[in-house]
């Protein structure tokens, strides 16, 4: 498959892994954070930990939108869906995320009209096809998905579709990285920068990380070779004692981002003064809400939202795992009370959540040793 196989070539991957080993100082421990949940998934999916030397530790960052969404927001969204006239729509990732009173999938089993959509425009299509119903789209995601929500709202307005609204949970990546860096128990050497978010925002917004915080950051693609090459680039910076923003994912990410997407977002959304993040608490100016000019399509203004706040189960240590202070397996609930089938915390739900990724791909595997390929 073109644009995939080239980045999974075992020979090139092995060569790049050798380069990492030669660059890494054996006397030093490296803590690299991959910000994006897609990277977390790729690390486990491709078994990348097995090819890295043990002194390179990958810390999973906050870039999994499902994982950072507080439980109360799910309950709020589902409360609106209880109206028999409402069709509740969301991405598939949301379906098994538990609120305090069950997940969307459980509500569906109990008769709520819950539908999986692959794009917000599909939800709008549903609204056109069901003029006697109200279709609500439960929007989640970073700058990666926010433009498509913005464009859908623009289209709804242009077409005058009134039976459609968005329950907006879009968040922005930069304040989350800042919160991580401000956290006193955090010691990070460098960042593997998010790839998909950067297709929209570009690389410039990361410059303060290098300039003010002295941490190298390389925006990375999602194939095994992309990630290993990004690690090579980070190790080179660390070796030379410099900290700059580099773009490994040039085939997709323009340095300046996507102006059209940013313009659509700016037209439809504005920053919320503050927003609660699961595991990280309230972060100011870290999330988007729908502007007054689109108020008619804002579910939070069209409906009575209960404004539920739910604290996470005490024993769950999602916050510590999310900040990279604990590894998934160090959480008291991991693999016992909390599994992908019966997730207690959201990190166990999304395939991009570090706990689910770790559980699905890693936790029964023997300690990181080079694996002999299966005999065929």
């Amino acid at each position: 498959m073109k644009f995939v196989d080239e980045f999974r070539d075992p020979e090139v991957i092995t060569r790049t892994a050798d380069e990492i080993r030669s660059l890494a100082d054996p006397g030093r421990h490296y803590r690299l954070m991959e910000v994006c949940g897609g990277h977390t998934h790729a690390i486990y999916r491709f078994g990348l930990k097995d090819v890295l030397p043990p002194n390179i530790e990958l810390i999973h960052g906050p870039g999994c939108p499902v994982c950072v969404l507080p439980m109360g927001r799910i309950d709020d969204g589902l409360a609106l869906g209880r109206d028999p006239n409402v069709i509740f729509t969301a991405f598939g990732d949301m379906m098994r995320v538990p609120g305090a009173h069950g997940s969307p999938l459980e509500r569906k089993a109990n008769g709520m009209d819950v539908r999986i959509v692959y794009s917000p425009t599909d939800a709008l299509k549903l609204a056109r096809a069901n003029p006697d119903k109200h279709v609500m789209f439960f929007a989640i995601g970073f700058e990666t998905t926010a433009p498509s929500t913005a464009l859908t709202l623009k289209r709804a307005k242009a077409e005058g579709i009134r039976n459609f609204s968005v329950f907006c949970n879009h968040v922005t990546i930069i304040p989350a990285i800042r919160a991580i860096l401000d956290s006193p128990d955090m010691r990070l050497d460098a960042f593997i920068g998010p790839g998909h978010v950067s297709t929209v925002i570009g690389c410039r917004p990361y410059e303060w990380i290098a300039r003010d915080q002295g941490r190298p950051i390389v925006v990375s693609g999602f194939e095994p070779l992309d990630m290993l090459q990004s690690i090579v680039m980070l190790l080179r910076q660390l070796k030379q004692g410099v900290a700059i923003v580099e773009n490994q994912y040039k085939r997709v990410v323009p340095w300046e981002g996507n102006r059209a997407a940013l313009a659509a977002m700016a037209e439809v959304f504005e920053l919320r003064p503050f927003f609660e993040w699961r595991g990280l608490g309230f972060i100011s100016q870290s999330a988007l809400r729908i502007r007054d000019t689109y108020a008619e399509w804002d579910a939070e203004r069209q409906f009575q939202v209960p404004g539920v706040r739910v604290t996470d189960p005490k024993a769950a240590q999602c916050g510590e795992v999310l900040k990279g202070v604990l590894k998934p397996v160090q959480c008291k609930l991991f693999g016992r009370e909390c599994t992908p089938e019966r997730p207690v915390g959201a990190l166990m739900v999304s395939s991009e959540g570090s706990c689910a990724a770790y559980y699905n791909y890693e936790h029964r595997k023997a300690a990181s040793t080079r694996l002999e390929p299966a005999t065929v």
């Binding site: 991957i13 078994g47 097995d50 090819v51 992908p340 595997k365 299966a374 005999t375």
Partner: protein, 330 residues
């Protein structure tokens, strides 16, 4: 819904409720068919129900699936299907031409598989109480002599064989629903596997340890069940798994693993190493088995798990399917 998806929840339902309450003697493993002894004659019996939506899709339809699915469950249990009985549950208002098309599809599939449909039952439920039509088939089969199959016979060093490219059926159904705006030239792989199984049994004899068809939950779920039942490690080489480009591409786009996608006309076999090449050659020499290949081997560690290895020394545990990425595909 997850309890019907063939993954972990299904297993829990079967082990936690059905087996303790319904089985008179606890079987040592749950294969695809049961053995029943009647007056000294041992026969294989199995049942399956089909609730696929849409009813017809590229490469097949519910009627064909209902015959092939049960014939294949018998085949991978080491038995040749002799007779089927069939039950229809029909939603009031189902057009008769749709029903007739499916009945004809069943007749053709039965002829192709060399099995007789000998009895049946029909129920009609009110409009809205069923999704057009459901079909259940029960099959009885003659056991192929000289075979002794089961997880307890699997040994470290054995090889894992798959009969052809995986994921065609599940991905075809997903795309046939038209919800994804994705198009690909894909067809369901529904077909009887008895010919390939017979050739394999002839070539391997007692070196054939175990067989299953990786339907719901895909290859990953079926291999995980085996790994749990035999307590051994199943190592699969990612590069060796046959997957069509269209299936691989769609999986990449949708974030799915081909190992979790359902199949209808494929089977997995475990064969002792000394007979593995002969067994593979026998399948490949049978019509439809040309793309069969060895995808891995059995080891001891990590116990009771399926490990997929990459060409560059990495690996990942592949678990059973959790939940249901593609509801009702068979």
């Amino acid at each position: 819904m997850a309890h019907g998806a063939g993954g972990k929840a299904t297993r829990r339902l079967v082990d936690g409720l059905f087996v303790p309450l319904l089985y008179s003697a606890v079987p040592d493993s749950l294969g695809d068919a049961a053995r029943v002894d009647i007056d000294g004659t041992s026969v294989a019996i199995t049942t399956d129900s089909f609730v696929v939506t849409p009813l017809s899709f590229p490469g097949g339809s519910i009627g064909e699936l209902a015959v092939n699915g049960t014939v294949n469950d018998l085949a991978v249990s080491g038995a040749t299907a002799v007779a089927l009985v069939v039950s229809f549950i029909l939603e009031a208002g189902l057009p008769t031409d749709v029903l007739e098309t499916e009945v004809r599809a069943m007749a053709n599939a039965a002829r192709a598989a060399g099995v007789h449909i000998v009895a049946g039952d029909t129920k009609v439920v009110e409009h809205g109480k069923a999704d057009r039509m459901y079909i259940a088939t029960t099959g009885i089969g003659r056991r192929i002599p000289g075979l002794d199959l089961g997880p307890s016979r699997v040994r470290p060093g054995d090889r894992i064989i798959v009969s052809g490219p995986i994921g065609d059926h599940g991905m075809t159904i997903l795309l046939a629903r038209g919800e994804l705006d994705l198009e690909a030239d894909l067809r369901s792989d529904t077909r009887p596997v008895l010919g390939m199984v017979t050739a394999l049994a002839d070539a391997a004899g007692p070196a054939l340890r175990w067989m299953r068809d990786p339907t719901r939950g895909g290859v990953a779920t079926t291999l995980n069940e085996l790994a749990i039942d035999c307590g051994l490690a199943l190592h699969v080489s990612e590069a060796a798994i046959p997957v069509r480009d269209a299936v691989r591409g769609a999986c990449e786009l949708l974030g799915l693993d081909p190992l979790h996608i359902a199949n209808e006309g494929q089977f997995l076999a475990i064969v002792a190493p000394e007979k593995a090449d002969a067994a593979l050659a026998a399948i490949q020499a049978t019509a439809g088995g040309e793309a069969a290949c060895i995808i891995g081997d059995v080891r001891t560690e990590p116990a009771a798990a399926v490990l997929v290895t990459t060409g560059y020394g990495g690996g990942r545990i592949v678990d059973m399917l959790v939940g249901d990425p593609l509801p009702r595909i068979c």
